[in-house]
């Protein structure tokens, strides 16, 4: 339960509204508990006074009390439950603001689904505690105290007897809902087995069909479904107890009132009106008694959810400005230097980059080539500080990269990542993603350089075309060019292209490279590629193998060297020849 203490700061934020809510509960309950007393008076009147005017008066008072109680009950929800939504909002906001500052490492270690589950389910579970659980707890306790006080004043003995079954109900509701929750978790598990089986069977359909195992698959699916059915029935066996127990125990209380109370009436210790009041009071107590068991469960679940959320909250913001940061640095020229840089993704991982030394001068174009998994992407991620190096240092304009304010650094780097990611927004907004105050001419300029402009002309809505699920799907090449335009639009000092032309045909690529040459005149560019055609005109080509630089020089120098680069070059020529062949 300790974890829920962390919520206090939110409660304090809304304390006045919450206090009003508590006050409304008390007012509403006071009027509600008055109604059975009015019933008692009217029934007693019918037995003694036989007064028409009194009866009319009582019936009007019953409606009046119900009206006032109802108005305040309305206000309770409008305060306490509304506050729970406010707190939910605040929590989610805080959660998101924290998540955004976490480094790439966090997102690689936690699946999107996992993060989503916390942001939705866990926060919802905590809200159930903040709202309904708090409301019903206060409601229950206050109603109990008032109702029992009144009942005792009417007849202490009958109170004792008639309330006797109710604690059992509370206890059983608590136990049953706990059991049901447990069974529910098992069912969830079985359901996920069922999903996995379905998923696997359809994904592996080729193997299944090859080995003619369809019937076997159907059998085994049938078994899992049967198991799922059984587990569901396990839950039903317990869940089906719920309503009967509810009837049984509340009904028992009423019977006790009629039986023992009736006896007391016969002995002139009690009036029929008082019996009526007792039955009505029992009716008022039933819901709070049920709610009590239910609330206990909500609190337990909320506490578990809060614990999970706190784990996220405690996650360190790894890459950030620090005391090292020199805020006087507000621009970048684009000289990059790696000094003895080593990097590994975690303690137990092998080194992806080893003792790497590299100097790139402002205005140069450097190409990196090498097999997959040799550390090309890692190398450029260090320049944007998506990761920090494990050993050695990265310098920009002679300053350690950690001294440059993170914002200044990233605003000056145009990175086109290997996996193109565009948001489901207009093309316009996507291109100006890094320059939100830009205008139409910025969009057109960037698109012209990246050769996206001609494609956009064919879209009916032009740059206002929405991408993604709600809009159109771009081809792989169009996506890459949009991603490039986005990087160009921020007018970066350093442009980094991580295999950004893989889906672009070679002719278009050549044109883009030509446009870039002009654009990149006084900027630094780093181009990662598998294609010789992309890298051959770079000022310097670096061959990366196994985390180390094995070859570097110009295209002609490397071809003459007759090493890895020359081999890639030769094979790509062959591939071209084969493709041409008819």
């Amino acid at each position: 339960m300790d974890s829920l203490n962390k919520l206090n700061k939110y409660f304090i934020r809304y304390k006045s509204k919450l206090l009003w809510g508590v006050l409304f509960i008390l007012i509403s309950n006071s009027f509600q508990v008055y109604i059975p007393l009015l019933l008692k008076d009217s029934i007693d009147t019918l037995q003694q006074d036989l007064s028409y005017s009194k009866i009319l008066q009582y019936s009007l008072m019953i409606v009046g009390a119900a009206l006032i109680s109802g108005v305040f009950r309305f206000l309770i929800r409008q305060t306490i439950i509304v506050v729970s939504r406010e707190i939910e909002f605040d929590m989610r906001q805080d959660f998101w603001s924290h998540i955004q500052r976490l480094s790439l490492r966090f997102f690689q270690n936690n699946s999107t689904g996992n993060i989503m589950a916390h942001a939705t389910n866990d926060i919802s579970a905590v809200r159930m505690y903040v709202g309904p659980a708090v409301m019903y707890s206060i409601d229950t306790v206050s109603k109990f105290i008032i109702v029992i006080a009144i009942m005792i004043s009417l007849s202490p003995m009958l109170t004792l007897y008639s309330l006797l079954p109710l604690p059992i109900l509370s206890y059983l509701v608590y136990k049953l809902s706990k059991k049901i929750h447990e069974k529910f978790m098992i069912i969830q598990e079985k359901f996920s087995d069922l999903t996995t089986k379905t998923q696997e069977s359809f994904s592996g359909i080729r193997v299944i069909k090859s080995y003619v195992r369809e019937l076997n698959e159907i059998d085994s699916f049938t078994n899992i479904s049967k198991d799922y059915l059984d587990k569901n029935m396990d839950k039903v066996k317990i869940q089906a107890l719920f309503m009967p127990i509810l009837y049984l125990i509340t009904g028992l209380s009423s019977i006790i009132v009629v039986w023992i109370g009736g006896g007391m009436v016969i002995n002139n210790q009690l009036t029929i009106g008082e019996i009526t009041a007792f039955v009505a009071y029992l009716g008022l107590l039933i819901w709070p008694v049920i709610a009590f068991g239910w609330v206990l469960n909500i609190i337990q679940q909320a506490s578990a959810s809060m614990k999970r959320l706190l784990k996220f909250w405690d996650e360190n913001v790894e890459i950030n400005d620090s005391e090292q940061t020199r805020y006087t640095i507000n621009s970048i020229k684009g000289n990059i230097e790696f000094r003895n840089v080593s990097f590994k993704y975690g303690e137990n991982h092998t080194e992806v980059l080893r003792n790497l030394n590299l100097k790139i001068n402002s205005g140069e174009t450097v190409a990196i080539i090498g097999k997959t998994g040799v550390g090309k992407t890692t190398l450029i991620n260090l320049i944007s500080r998506l990761y920090d190096s494990t050993k050695g240092e990265v310098l920009i304009d002679g300053n350690n990269i950690k001294e440059i304010p993170l914002k200044v650094l990233r605003r000056n780097i145009g990175l086109v990542p290997q996996e193109t990611f565009l948001f489901s927004e207009t093309l316009h907004n996507n291109i100006l993603y890094g320059k939100p105050n830009g205008n139409e001419s910025d969009v057109i300029k960037a698109s012209t350089i990246s050769k996206l402009d001609k494609d956009v002309e064919s879209f009916p809505l032009g740059y206002q075309t929405i991408l993604g699920e709600r809009g159109i799907t771009l081809s792989g090449g169009q996506k890459q060019r949009a991603s490039l335009a986005r990087a160009i639009a921020i007018d970066p000092k350093i442009l980094i292209l991580d295999d950004s032309f893989s889906a672009v045909d070679t002719n278009t690529e050549e044109e883009i490279l030509k446009n870039l040459k002009e654009f990149m005149k006084d900027r630094t560019s780093i181009i990662i590629s598998h294609r010789i055609s992309t890298v051959k005109d770079a000022d310097k080509i670096i061959v990366l193998d196994n985390g180390e630089i094995t070859e570097q020089g110009t295209h002609d120098e490397l071809v003459a060297l007759n090493g890895i680069y020359a081999d890639i070059h030769f094979k790509q020529l062959l591939e071209e020849e084969l493709k041409e062949l008819n």
Partner: protein
Amino acid sequence: MSKEKDDEILGKAYDSQLMKRLLGFVKPYKKYVVLAIVLNIVVAALGPLRPYLTKIAIDDYIVKSDFDGLILVAALLFGSLIFQAVIQYFLTFYTQLMGQKIIFDLRVKLFSHVERLALKFFDKTPIGRVVTRVTNDIESLNELFSSGIVMVFSDIFIIIWILIFMFFMSWDLSLVSLSVLPILIYGTFLFRRKVRESYRDVRKHLARLNSYMQEHVSGMNIVQIFTREEDELKKFHSINGDHKKANIDSIFYYAVFYPAVELVSSVAIGLIIWYGGGEVIQGTMTIGILFAFIQYTEMFFRPIRDLSEKYNIMQTAMASSERIFKLMDDETFVHNPENPKELRDVKGKIEFKNVWFAYNPDEYVLRDVSFTINPGESIAIVGATGAGKTSMINILTRFYDIQKGNILIDDVDIKEIDKRDLRKYISIVLQDVFLFSGTVKSNINLDNPEISLERIIEAAKTVGAHKFIDKLPNKYDEKVMEKGSTLSVGQRQLISFARALAYDPQILILDEATSSVDTETEIIIQEAIQKLLKGRTSIVIAHRLSTIQNADKIIVMHKGEIREMGSHQELLSKKGIYYKLYQLQYKDQEVTKTA
């Protein structure tokens, strides 16, 4: 892509044709339905009976000071309570059981249907969507069967019984107290509609919130690279705020509704006291009747509320069943011959005669392909990506049907052979090895009881997989996780070799994997392949130098056509396409081999 949209659309709450098909699945459980209805009628009477008994207790015994009579009524009350509780329990149990069984039938039927569909179906349909049909969509029908259909009767019977008791005791007081009923019914259905609308609003905003988070968690590196954290937080604030607002709007309806219901029942009580009280004073009514009526006002509400909820259940069920039946009606099958020819003692001769094949009409990926493979021969197919190699093996086992030409096995056209027979004789080892979650053993014999553990071990030994399997903590019973993620690439390949060998096919098709493995594993795999191919007709899409060197014949595919055919040395000396391919794909292996 538009899957979410697909699943979000909620149409009408009733469609007679869908309902008819759904009821078809209820038919086997007619007995349950009858039982449930009978129990419902009984149980519905027991609740309303008690206020009536209480009336008797008050009027006949308490007022007349008859203590023994009072005890008798109390005992009756208690008895009816127990009886009701027991019946209620079984009622719930059996209706749920029926629902679960129907769901089970539907699910197995749908799964079996999909399992039989042709590969073409799986090519054009995202797996995720099919999985949703089998799992979630079917699940959402549960409520319809377990609490929808049967419980409607229950609610109606309760209302009827209450009315019977009330009118039996006093028809004029019934009319007076029921005068609030139209307000209650109207209010409840109005509330349901409002809540439904506002719930739709909440869901819309929740979906927006979720898709925003989903998208931005996936693209967080872009957010950070372009330093958009502050702007995104503002945007999140507005989406999160809309969600909050939608929720707070929906609180309003609940905040009005529940107090309003209490108010309405208090008005009814007020009316009962006023009108009934007047009659009591006149001596035309008893206190007990007043007492019973007050209790009935509270009983009325639950069945009315329940009935109002049925609309949602129906609507969801209709939408789900429409999607389910659409899938069930998909007829993308590869048809079996009506009178299949039986194949006995397959020798393994394969013949392609002028075969033309296209996945999409007129986009031929194989053009006029002809060749013959004699029993026991090993053929290697080579070619650049997109040359049509994979298509050749897809059509041989009739995963797809060809458009023109014939494919013959032992001189019988494969279209005349039972698909199951055909595939029994031909095993395919695919490039990306697919492992199922289960055990190592179940991944080799694919749960076929005819393949014993001895044969599994033998197969594993032959391909060289036994060594590493034996080192696993549970050996052949070692758990294999989803997609075999705990095993290395090489180990997974060896398991798939063992699988093929255990099935001992006459014809083997092997699509060699290109993924690189360490030298030691490479040697094991090369040896395994040779053992696998020995003594049977085989077609290999070759990526290994050793494989092509050992092949009896090499077929060179280029742009859907056979361009060259012959042995390794013959083809090399031609200096044609093969020569280029050799330098591109295989020559390096020579270097690494000698190194």
